[in-house]
Symmetry: C2
DNA sequence: CGAGCCGGAGAGAGCGCTCTCTCGACGGTG
DNA sequence: CACCGTCGAGAGAGCGCTCTCTCCGGCTCG
């Protein structure tokens, strides 16, 4: 169209829009930012000009003056992977759980017009780099997913004034809002299920005991069993991987061959643990009942389908995004953390 | 430190650095951007000032004048998911394959100082939104991962001048560079393996035949078998999901109970197909050999461990990032597409 | 010894936008 | 009829940076 491309090859600017609409730049800006003090006729003209020039605001220019960027960082913080030969970045990315979190976040961030910048911190250097980036005001807020309980990033972030939300309670104390599932309540659901089925020789494959979530699942499970009159909980520690779950199950079974029920603190570990039981000649659920944790996709696909404690991961991620947006819009008071109630999903394994 | 924070609460600017170093803004800028025409003594002073003020350049301001943003978009384009009750964004995120791609991309982008912005296009509106964003110059380049062969986005992107790389060959013709594995060669590896084991009643669970990759795997497999003297390939179409693989396997087995070998066009489908065979009383690999495609993590974990055609996903993603960076640095000529050679990973299933 | 050259540094414009300040027009009031 | 308040619109500064242009001083060369 004739009105377009005053300067060849460059996208239209507000100046162009104003000229086409026959108004000042300020008025065009008012229309774009929804100011109420614009005459209806002029507003129409500006809107037409915007269409005619296919104008879209330059975020860099806007951000320069407003000090907002309309984007947030999704920071994935991982334990350093020194032992790997190939420099493999972001092992967490291949975890479907992570994908569910991303999906939930985008569900809220996208309609809010927020862009999401993906960053990984997996060693001292990258952590510094990420922090510098964040501190420099390139994003309005941060969602931090950390798999390392000793991660210094939460504390470092809490020292900046940057709005931040954590996925899960941080290992070290940091006064940042987080979103998490009630681990103890989840463990209690598992305990109640197994006991209700008449199982009494119950063990658990726990997660790494330096992670708060894993600790709470173990303690919560032990406490719930005790409340139900079952004491003396045998357990083995896995590392939240499939292989780790298998290994822990093997140890547990060797020490306690009479087990008739197992709470495995993650579905992924359960996926490793169940075959160990089967190969040892135990039928699941007839001989040994198994309850997992997460309700990941793997739970449904496993053989037999896994009875498991469901975390509403997507909902939790949505809530994280909402908490973050609230902090961004109302600076100052950090919103309270949110703890979700887990539910039990009964399938075949118990 | 005393020299910091000339203006309270705001990060240091180039002006601050210059003042602290006792030079002009221009010289400070030269040092930061590595201009060679700076006296060594001044350079030192500026570098000290940078440290003292913990200065980091404001990207918005820089981008405003350079028209570069030092960030690229990772656009995930998916078929519209109307049928879902909950607005579930980005089902692809939960696919470990996607995570591997992200990991590979970051491996190259991060050292290059490029930020990665995550975007999803899953319907007409979001596609337009994404395109507007991209066209406005908010990113220097685009990596497009599309699961929809009829996706209009590649064509739309090729009409912009924006550097772009596609993951996989696009369904519709678009003159954009892509990175992909040689599908036919992969299918040939599978055919050779099965035939070498003396199998002759060979079928295949193919992928959706509107996807080029799935087509080529089927045709490549058929062609390779023919070259080996095996003709008349029975096949069933799956949708690249686990359940779809199981369903297709069931149909295939019902029509051809005498099968002694199956090429399943993705590991995920194989994960569904193998249990169908086992439940039908076929031993794997004794009665029926199974070869998958992808060498996903699932392949190793499956029971029996899956013999599969390996795609070097991370390497391919690295290459995508490199192609993109090259386009960004040398505008004009789009680099050629790159096709990777697959390899066969022999495990237990065939 | 003076003209020309060149390396190195500073001055200053301007990228596209927002937002304050100013101004004009209009209508209601004393 | 003069005054004031209000509403809508424009003028213009300035966000932090890059980059061209200009200038200065020291060197080489005729």
């Amino acid at each position: 169209m004739a009105t377009e491309a005053r300067r060849p090859g460059r996208p239209a600017t507000l100046e162009d829009v104003a000229r086409v609409a026959g108004v000042s730049r300020a008025t065009a800006s008012r229309v774009i930012n929804g100011s109420p003090t614009v005459d209806a006729a002029l507003r129409r003209k500006v809107e037409e000009a915007i269409t005619a020039t296919s104008y879209a605001p330059n975020r860099a220019a806007r951000s320069l003056v407003t000090r907002r960027t309309d984007s947030v960082a999704l920071v994935v913080s991982e334990r350093e992977q020194r032992q790997l030969a190939t420099p493999f970045i972001g092992r967490m990315f291949t975890d479907p759980h992570f994908g569910r979190v991303v999906s939930g976040l985008l569900q809220v961030l996208r309609p809010a017009g927020m862009q999401t910048v993906l960053m990984v911190a997996d060693d001292e250097a990258s952590r510094r780099q990420v922090l510098t980036y964040l501190r420099q005001g390139h994003v309005d807020g941060v969602v931090l997913i950390s798999s390392d309980p000793n991660d210094p990033l939460p504390r470092m972030l809490s020292e900046t004034a940057l709005p931040t939300v954590l996925a899960g309670r941080p290992g070290r104390s940091a006064v940042l809002p987080y979103v998490e599932v009630d681990q103890r309540a989840g463990a209690q659901l598992a305990a109640e299920r197994l006991v209700a089925q008449g199982r009494r020789l119950i063990g658990t494959v726990a997660g790494p005991q330096d992670m708060p979530a894993a600790q709470e699942r173990l303690e919560g499970f032990r406490g719930a069993l005790a409340a139900l009159g079952v004491t003396g909980l045998p357990w083995a520690e896995g590392d939240f991987t499939r292989a780790g779950g298998a290994e822990a199950m093997r140890r547990l079974l060797a020490d306690h061959p009479g087990l008739d029920g197992v709470f495995v603190a993650s579905d992924l570990m359960a996926l490793g643990a169940v075959p160990v039981l089967l190969r040892a000649g135990r039928r699941v659920p007839e001989d040994v009942g198994v309850v997992g944790f997460d309700d990941s996709e793997a739970a449904e696909a496993s053989e037999p389908a896994l009875t498991t404690v469901r975390q509403p991961v997507e909902d939790m991620a949505c809530e994280m995004a909402r908490l973050l947006l609230r902090q961004i819009r109302e600076p100052g008071a950090a919103p309270p953390s949110v703890v979700f109630r887990p539910t039990l999903v009964v399938r075949d394994s118990s």
